[in-house]
């Protein structure tokens, strides 16, 4: 019962925040930043399933994001595939790719896993940069609006509502998943692989599953991002974008869906806030990353909740 209210309550609150936030938006730049924040939030909710819940690091997720974006770009622009078809097809391809690489990669642990995922991301980045005949190379490629069922999604406001809805949906699905037999198995993998194995959890299959799911999340967000932005460059696959995504998850709070969401929002807003002190931006970002991890190694949301709990006298 308790859980149910947290679920419905959290979702309702999220929906309310998304609905009310535009009151403070004086122009479409705000919508734009908000949409980017929500894109990152969706992606991080998916990535958190892998990192926070199943305990497997990935330093290459920007690669899957970029494959989704370029998949949509290439299919819609060069082959005239309808946007939704391109999105689904790209996600499927990314899913298959993730499935193929997942098994050998997820046998690795710790830094070896970090290295391998980093390698995958970098290889994708290089391919996107080099195959300029189809990707446009480092100068990037443009693509058109997202059209579906005769409806064209365009303009920052419209995107805001669409992505807002998708964010609520993504959070809902993730909440469902982690509180299901599948989700519990995933979390058990993080808790103790051998402990899960001996009660019948095929841990390697679950690791593959969550890797594929989070990659598909990234791909879908990539596709939408590409359409919304109208222009993409291979740098969205860069190592730094991957690091940024992981930082969002860890900063907000691993194994916390709302934590990942908050981390994504904060790190998306940060460069906008720091634009005024542009030359110190790198130092401030670095200091925030170090400071949060040193003083709140569990991430912002779980640490804050824990301290509230302590102050509230144990409950």
């Amino acid at each position: 019962m308790n859980l149910m209210t947290a679920r419905t309550g959290g979702l309702a609150l999220l929906a309310v925040v998304i609905t009310v936030a535009p009151v403070g938006f004086s122009n479409s730049y705000f919508y734009d930043v908000a949409v980017n924040a929500m894109f990152n939030a969706i992606l991080c909710v998916g990535l958190n399933l892998l990192i926070g819940y199943a305990g497997q690091i990935s330093l290459g997720h920007a690669g899957f994001f970029a494959l989704g974006a370029y998949g949509s770009g290439i299919l819609t622009e060069r082959y005239g595939v309808p946007a939704i078809g391109a999105l689904v097809l790209s996600a499927a391809v990314v899913g298959v790719l993730a499935f193929v690489v997942a098994r050998p990669i997820l046998k690795l642990k710790g830094h070896y896993l970090a290295m391998a995922t980093l390698g995958i991301g970098i290889i994708i980045h290089i391919v996107l940069k080099t195959e300029s005949g189809i990707t446009g190379g480092p100068d990037g490629m443009s693509l058109g609006n997202f059209k579906m069922l005769g409806l064209t999604i365009k303009g920052d406001q419209m995107w805001y509502w669409v992505v807002g809805f998708l964010l609520v949906l993504a959070v809902w699905l993730s909440l469902n998943l982690i509180d299901s037999p599948v989700g519990r198995a995933l979390r058990a993998v993080h808790g103790s692989e051998v402990g899960a194995e001996v009660v019948g959890v095929d841990t390697s299959s679950y690791k593959v599953l969550v890797f594929v799911v989070s990659a598909v999340f990234a791909s879908v967000v990539g596709s939408l991002f590409a359409h919304k932005n109208g222009f993409i460059t291979p740098d969205i696959a860069s190592f730094f974008h991957s690091v940024e995504l992981v930082t969002m998850v860890v900063l907000g709070g691993m194994a916390s869906i709302y934590g990942a969401l908050i981390g994504a929002v904060i790190l998306t807003l940060l460069p906008q806030v720091l634009a005024a002190v542009e030359q110190y931006e790198a130092m401030i970002l670095g200091a925030i990353m170090m400071g949060t991890m040193i003083f709140m190694p569990k991430g912002l949301l779980p640490s804050l909740l824990a301290s509230l709990k302590r102050r509230g006298g144990g409950q």
Binding site: R187, H190, G195, E197, V199
Partner: protein, 253 residues
């Protein structure tokens, strides 16, 4: 009938024989204890039986079926479940969720229904939760049903592992030092739990240092030393065996 047969089992780690040419069998319905001094190879034996390690040679048969080389989760599906000397609790989850993971094999594990939280999944999950709450009561953890695993005391976690293993509805339960680190009262309580489990018809294989417990509840004991079988028999027989006594207490001078 022998539920488990271990035949000429050996395991080496870099030239050291942790288990050597070991043969014994466990009768269905028994509480069968494996004892021996530290480093005798008990935990290695458990890991070999439950598929965590692969044997260097020899075979393990469960219900007359060759199971050596199978993965732990496959063995779990055949009805073998265990606990650990060093706890393998999912500290990132609630206590009852730990037990619910134990029930994993008996749930709808398909991805899409889980993702969409279909009514059927929801209902089944609620049943599972009730069932697992029942198991927690059974092992004496009623007051921890809503607790986070990370907030529970050590003794309770030992039982939580037993509840988790029971949730898999095993035919054979292997307990690796369930009383280690517990005080006398807690040990006696665990003792009771093991007896209750055995009474439900589950075969129990037990590795334990607490001799009071072992001698009190075992139907059969296999004593190991240096990875080999030292003695076998009822508690009285084993206790009287001079080799066992000297393996434990050493020799005079």
């Amino acid at each position: 009938m022998s539920l488990l047969k271990v035949e000429k089992l050996s395991k080496e780690f870099g030239g050291v024989h942790a288990v050597e040419d070991l043969t014994f069998s466990v009768e269905a319905g028994h509480i069968h204890s494996i004892i021996g001094p530290n480093g005798a190879g008990k935990t290695t034996l458990f890991n070999l039986i439950t598929g965590v390690y692969t044997p260097s040679s020899g075979r393990v048969l469960f219900q007359d079926r060759l199971v050596s080389g199978m993965k732990p989760y496959e063995l779990a599906a055949l009805g073998m479940s265990r606990t650990f000397q060093n706890l393998q609790i999912f500290f990132n989850m609630q206590a009852i969720e730990n037990v619910m993971v134990g029930h994993h094999l008996h749930l709808d594990r398909r991805f899409l229904p889980s993702l969409l939280r279909l009514p059927k999944v929801k209902r089944r999950d609620r049943e599972c939760r009730d069932y697992c709450a029942g198991l927690m009561e059974f092992v004496g953890l009623a007051k921890y049903i809503d607790a986070d695993a990370a907030s529970m005391p050590y003794g309770a976690l030992k039982r939580l592992e037993i509840a988790r293993a029971l949730a898999a509805q095993p035919k054979m339960l292997l307990l690796d030092e369930p009383a280690a680190g517990l005080n006398a009262t807690e040990s006696r309580e665990i003792d009771e739990v093991i007896k209750k489990v055995a009474a439900t018809g589950v075969t129990v294989v037990l590795v334990e240092h607490d001799m009071k417990m072992v001698m009190g509840i075992s139907d059969q004991i296999t004593a190991l030393d240096y990875g080999r079988k030292l003695a076998e028999g009822t508690p009285a027989e084993v206790r009287a065996n001079p080799e066992v006594v000297s393996a434990y207490l050493g020799t005079h001078g």
